[in-house]
Assembly symmetry: C2
Homo-oligomer: 250 residues x 2
DNA sequence: AGTGGTGTAGTGGTCAGACCAGTTGACCAG
DNA sequence: CTGGTCAACTGGTCTGACCACTACACCACT
């Protein structure tokens, strides 16, 4: 039987109140990026709390990426790095790994990266195209080096995200690729996986260069479908070799 | 001239080391969810640091959603709530509002929600469909109540994300809708916006019920394109009325 | 004037010890 | 078995202290 009254007031701790207050000031731009916060001692005094409380509040905001603590110097408001936003997301994914995790990741990756290819084909700068070209070359040179190939592969998709000229795509992509890196390495166990992947990337780049956005999306979707299969095959190869367990999924 | 040597070692603080260590234990499941951590005093002693350090480490992990602190009782490992992952993302979006923010949000929302509609049409349970139906009804009853309508609208899209049976979609959608709520309210300033939106949702639900995944995607994409225009028009109405500024975009 | 050393005040990092309020669980009286 | 009591423990907060480091003003030398 479910508990009645599982309410719990637990009125906010002091450090929580201080953290919220400071965060509000930062979000509302009342303290601008780069500005220095009053020292912990002064903050404590002016807020009527102990330095302990102020420190714990600052710790939290620092961990959220809003503050930068420079020992011996002071605490400063900081522009939040995108990485901070992705990191928490990534942590969540790490903790909630399910058997379906890889499939779920591909299901969200598909539309996101498809759109990325579409937009990048319309908006990529010369610099973007150059960068993408270099990364394809790097993949070509790393056909026999699984780690190097995977790194270049990830870098290619990241560069493509940047080429959309929309800052949200790199943000969304990062935790996804981070979670899939291990799986991507596995897929290198399948024969010709690298060569096949390279082909897709070359086609994608070609479509992108000729500004064929629908074509770019199409190639990307095919690539991802293929990659998903390879990952599953690669995983099954490992599990066959490693433990002789059956894998009825395939 | 760029700085040479802008390296900075800033070797990790003690509380950082402790936090990393504890987080590793949690991620590796060496301390399982629900388990109780040793008391701060015991942890401090066994790690050879002061209680201050342990507390600050625990604060950080608690803020990341890994720990739940029950005063007078102890500190426990906790399953991270999805909301924690979205919150940091949301904070980032709040801090990096750009003039293009709304457009960027729609650019990522389009493929994600399109895929959501597609998958939901294939996988929605009876319960999902019922819930979606109720929300459409609620929208219909709230045609003259902008706030109520927007709430029902958001709830519909959230329910749709759940109906994909892929936990990542609700996760991705939340920060997006949170950021767009204000903009959605603005769009209610445009005549017949609600009635138009309701129509799309009804069509979408119909496609979903007959299992027409491609149709559902199509309706969703049309709906979002329409919504984006309405948001822009709504914003311009406000700025016209509010400050008589020109809006050359339209 | 420019250089480099030097000292001092201020900052965050860490520590130790204390008290409070709340929870827990064992114990006991009814 | 119930309800109350009490001691032990937990996290929350406070205080005051010391450390290492930074910044900055000052000064002595060139």
């Amino acid at each position: 039987m479910g508990e009645l009254f599982d309410i719990q007031l637990s009125r906010d701790r002091l450090y929580t109140q201080v953290a919220d207050e400071l965060q509000a000031l930062i979000v509302d731009q009342q303290i601008k990026s780069g500005e220095k916060l009053p020292s912990e001692r002064k903050l404590a005094e002016s807020l009527g709390v102990s330095r302990t409380v102020v420190r714990e509040a600052i710790r939290v905001l620092s961990d959220r990426g809003l503050l930068r603590i420079k020992p011996g110097c002071g605490t400063f408001v900081q522009d939040m790095r995108p990485q901070k936003a992705s990191a928490q997301f990534e942590l969540f994914l790490k903790l909630n790994k399910s058997p379906r995790a890889t499939q779920e990741l591909f299901e969200v990756r598909r539309p996101i990266e498809g759109q990325m290819a579409y937009l990048a084909a319309q908006r990529a700068t010369e610099q973007d195209k150059q960068k993408l070209g270099q990364l394809v070359d790097m993949m070509a040179r790393s056909l026999d080096d699984p780690e190097g190939y995977t790194d270049a592969d990830v870098a290619f998709h990241t560069a493509l995200a940047s080429a959309t000229q929309n800052s949200l795509f790199p943000l969304l992509l990062q935790p996804i690729t981070e979670m899939l890196k291990a799986a991507m390495l596995l897929s290198q166990n399948v024969a010709d996986a690298s060569r096949l992947g390279l082909g897709f990337h070359q086609e994608l780049l070609a479509a992108l260069i000729r500004g064929d956005s629908e074509g770019a999306r199409r190639v990307m979707l095919d690539h991802l479908d293929n990659a998903e299969q390879l990952v599953k095959q690669g995983a099954s190869v490992v599990s066959d070799v490693g433990s002789h367990q059956e894998n009825k999924e395939l």
